[in-house]
């Protein structure tokens, strides 16, 4: 809980720094601040507690995921200093909004009460609408911001309606009371079921699962690339943490209705994400569809919630995050130097800059789930757990889908090594290089020693 307060305070502090004319120091101070909060966050390890009349519950689950959220934001901020070099007038706004998104994500990882969940989702979403449209003079960015806002507020309305219906049956917003309501009533009232399904729809929208995914490619493509990196990592992970928490604590590890819904959605998401990704020639759209397919895999984890899979979700999220961040740490300078966000921007990168090409190659191999990177163990762990819960056919489908995945991840690799380079030189600033090395090293380390993460949440 303290972590949440510190993070919010840090967000306000960055806005104050603007007033105090400390603009140059905003990014370094915010990075240091996040690192300190990351350390403070660890103090809550193994000390479960509840706060604000049981609105928030601190547990190892929330501490681990908050740590991951802080880590991702920290990495994004390291890159933000470089990314916003020509936009220094607004740097404090961007940094503050990024930090508020993290605060929202933390609420989504530790709520005990539907109201708190809604607050978290809105804090995260509204800040994100602003960031997606933050390139004011770019029509694409405007479109992204507006589209995301329209669709997102619609989803929020559905979510509220669902919460209201659930409240109408349970007479409480508390997850534990909802859970006992489910176990006490052998037949659930239709109003409750409708509410649960509406909540599910809204959550599936937030994690961009099919058929609620249509916003994702357009928003990912239009938003500034750094924000795309942020959306494809932290926002997705926060959405899944919230969904998992909702299903495990609130819905007694999944009611038959939610299970059926998630089952169908998982199949659709896996197929839509992977098959659509095959045809993409824009890197950001590719990452959007790859993100959709990863959402499909992560839905399998939520579906297997009956056996304790929080460590699987955590491992998969962490592996996915570092691979995604490493990929964007190479993509951002390439976009900037070539002025293009198409896959052809990577043509000949293997000749122009072998180190960057190697980094992106490892990130893509990690995303495709090939050893020795963490992405592979994540998939194996996921398949094992889902199989254990009896999800035989859908695991087979997921296995087939990861084969499809290899093709489009390797499209990037083939562009880098197989195509002729053009004249443009790629400038690769130090901060991007640092991020690439750290994330690749972590991906490799977690892949070789998975117990570093898997043993945390057993």
């Amino acid at each position: 809980m303290n972590t949440l307060i510190y993070t919010s305070v840090l967000g306000f502090a960055t806005m104050l720094m603007e007033v105090l004319n400390l603009r140059k120091f905003i990014v370094p101070l915010a990075v240091i601040g996040l690192a300190v909060i990351f350390g403070l966050n660890l103090q809550d390890w193994n000390q479960p507690s509840t706060h604000f009349n049981d609105m928030l519950g601190v547990s190892n689950f929330s501490v681990a995921f908050s740590g991951l959220a802080l880590f991702i934001t920290l990495i994004i901020l390291v890159m933000a200093g470089e990314y916003y070099t020509n936009d220094e007038n607004h740097i404090s706004d961007y940094v503050a909004i990024l930090i508020f998104i993290t605060a929202g994500a933390m609420m989504m990882m530790s709520f005990n009460n539907l109201v708190m969940m809604f607050l978290g989702i809105e804090t995260l979403s509204i800040a994100l609408y602003a960031l997606a449209g933050s390139k004011r003079f770019d029509t694409r960015s405007n479109e992204a911001g507006f589209k995301y806002f329209l669709m997102g507020s619609f989803a929020s309305a559905i979510l509220l309606f669902g919460i209201a219906l659930v409240y109408g049956s349970v007479h409480s917003f508390h997850l534990s009371l909802i859970a006992s309501f489910i176990s006490e009533n052998s037949t659930l009232p239709p109003m409750f079921i409708t509410g649960v399904i509406l909540i599910g729809f809204a959550m599936l929208f937030k994690v961009s699962a099919a058929p609620f995914h249509f916003w994702a490619p357009d928003v990912y493509e239009g938003a500034p690339a750094l924000i795309t990196a942020f959306m494809s990592t932290l926002v997705k992970i926060a959405g899944f943490a919230a969904l998992y928490r909702l299903v495990t604590i609130g819905f007694n590890n999944g009611t038959p209705q939610t299970d059926q819904m998630l089952y169908v959605v998982a199949i659709l998401t896996l197929l839509t994400g992977n098959l659509s990704a095959l045809a993409q020639d824009n890197f950001k759209r590719l990452m959007a569809y790859s993100g959709i397919s990863h959402a499909g895999y992560m839905l399998l984890i939520v579906l297997s919630a009956k056996s304790n899979v929080s460590s699987t979700l955590f491992y998969y999220s962490a592996a996915y995050a570092v691979a995604g961040l490493a990929a964007f740490s190479v993509a951002l300078p390439v976009f900037k130097s070539t002025g293009s966000e198409l896959l052809s921007a990577f043509n000949g990168l293997g000749k122009k800059n072998p180190v960057m090409a190697a980094g992106l190659t490892m990130a893509m191999i990690g995303m495709a789930g090939i050893p020795p990177f963490a992405g592979f163990f994540g998939k194996f762990y996921l398949f094992t757990k889902a199989f254990e819960s009896g999800l035989f056919y859908i695991v087979l489908l997921a296995v087939i889908n990861s084969m499809i995945g290899v093709y489009y991840y390797f499209k990037v690799i083939m562009a880098m090594y197989g195509k002729q380079p053009d004249e443009t030189q790629i400038e690769n600033p130090l901060s991007y290089q640092l991020v690439m090395w750290v994330c690749t090293a972590l991906s490799l380390l977690w892949g070789i020693v998975p117990s570093l993460l898997t043993d945390l949440l057993l």
Partner: protein, 477 residues
């Protein structure tokens, strides 16, 4: 503990070579592959062939799901480790007069490949085995993709996805085995002792077999192979055909047979028939080929088809023969592709019709090439003979008619190999060849060593057979 050394020497070398420059890279690669060969030789001398595992190393790795690192060798895997580490110095040496661009990356990938291959053969835990199996794919993909010819982009992605499809199905099978094993373990000993019910073995067999059949490749899973062999750089083709396809045939014996014995018996007839079809089919296509490398690629499909048929005959002779033939085929096929590369580098063509009369220009090369060709058509007293003889004997014990068709491989093999040799080496002088410069010292050395090995293991096959005998007896029990 020797297993760890066998693993870490190439890994360390590969990281070291990454920082070397130019010629130092290949010199370092040669030094380390030779060190690795010495260590392998030492392992062979102290190994007692008793059918059990030796040089074992176990270490807990992940608590949930329970995964332990387990390395060790029995006679079968030691033979494969020997083949790998024997061929690697030859493959490295064969590139000594070739200028590869960015040699430090090329040789680093090659040594990394050696690390992964050793890992595949040393692993005694299915999960670790799977990791090395996939790990071996990455360096060879980049070798074929970055140093291959103009068709490489299309060809290598086909190869990569094709083999990955198999691997993922195998992973799915392993996940199932992991969950159904009583103590949740993927250790080789556990998997071979507990038997899942034959209702599951029926389909488990195909999940595992898919991975191996694609890698070997067994007809009709072979379509990636000729293009990839043709388009990869010669040293990459040597790695692929000499060692990497042995991962598949080795896994048939080491993993598939003991883990799903009932499934193995159930599908025995189907697979053995497919293999024999593959033998005849590939041999006929090989006769039609006009390109040397493609001819060797198809002859390789025919040979490994026979190896697979021998394994699936499930007889003492068939299994023995398959192991002897794996060892022999590894050496021969490396020799064949090297000869093709020598011809290509001197004449600029691999079209058989454009070649001819090389014997008059270079007697030494011609004699050495002949030894390799004879080894590969399984002439008595060459290394190919004992393996093919035992294989055919094994298939004969299973079914007479199949053995007749499989026996065609010897006749057809002689047809296409000797006709090729005649057209390329003797025959009238071709106008495409003005001169055939003498062999470089490294080319001479490699070919003489390969020729020596072909004759040596042809005359004295006993050490190979004795090495694998106890392990095979264990399997047949």
């Amino acid at each position: 503990m020797l297993s760890l050394e066998l693993l870490f020497i190439p890994l360390f070398a590969s990281l070291l070579i990454l920082f070397a420059k130019g010629k130092a890279a290949r010199a370092l690669a040669l030094v380390f592959t030779l060190i690795q060969l010495l260590v392998t030789g030492y392992a062979y001398t102290i190994y007692k062939a008793n059918g059990g595992a030796a040089f074992e190393f176990t270490q807990a790795w992940v608590k949930s799901p329970v995964i332990n690192i387990h390395f060790g060798v029995d006679g079968i895997s030691l033979l494969m480790v020997m083949l790998t580490n024997l061929l690697l110095p030859l493959i490295v040496l064969s590139g000594f007069n070739r200028e590869a661009k960015r040699p430090h990356i090329f040789y680093a990938l090659m040594l990394f490949m050696q690390f992964a291959l050793n890992g595949v053969f040393l692993s005694m835990d299915a999960f670790v085995y799977y990791i090395f199996w996939e790990l071996a794919l990455i360096p060879i993909y980049f070798i074929a993709f970055n140093w291959g010819d103009e068709n490489r982009a299309k060809v290598t992605i086909k190869f990569f996805i094709y083999t990955l499809v198999g691997s993922l199905l195998m992973l799915f099978g392993f996940v199932f085995l992991y969950l159904s094993s009583p103590q949740h373990s993927l250790d080789w000993n556990t998997l071979t002792q507990f038997k899942t019910c034959s209702c599951n073995q029926t389909w488990l067999f195909w999940l595992l077999f898919a991975a191996f059949a694609i890698k070997i490749p067994i007809f009709p899973f072979h379509t990636w192979q000729p293009d990839t062999y043709k388009s990869a750089p010669t040293q990459g083709t040597m790695l692929l055909s000499g060692i990497m396809l042995k991962m598949g045939t080795y896994s048939l014996i080491k993993w598939l047979l003991p883990i799903v014995p009932d499934g193995f018996k159930e599908w025995q007839a189907v697979v053995i028939t497919l293999s024999v079809i593959g033998i005849v089919y590939a041999s006929i296509i090989a006769i039609m080929q006009t390109d040397l490398k493609r001819l060797f690629a198809y002859s390789s499909i025919a040979h490994v088809g026979l190896i697979a048929a021998g394994v699936f005959s499930f007889t003492q002779q068939g299994l023995q023969g398959s192991l002897a033939q794996m060892f022999a085929h590894g050496i021969n096929v490396v020799g064949l592709f090297f000869c093709a590369d020598i011809i290509l580098s001197r004449t600029g063509t691999l079209q058989i019709s454009n070649l001819g009369g090389i014997r008059n220009q270079n007697r030494l090369f011609s004699s050495l090439f002949l030894i390799v060709v004879l080894g590969s058509v399984a002439l008595p007293l060459t290394n190919g003979f004992i393996g093919e003889f035992l294989l055919l004997y094994g298939v004969f014990e299973y079914n007479t008619w199949l053995s007749v068709f499989a026996g065609l491989t010897i006749i057809l093999g002689a047809v296409y190999m000797l006709r090729m040799f005649q057209n390329v080496m003797s025959g009238p002088d071709s106008e495409h060849i003005s001169s055939f410069p003498p062999l470089h010292w490294n080319e001479k050395l490699v070919l003489i060593l390969i020729g020596g090995l072909i004759i040596l293991t042809g005359v004295f096959p006993a050490p190979i057979l004795e090495l694998t005998q106890p392990a095979i007896d264990n399997l047949l029990k």
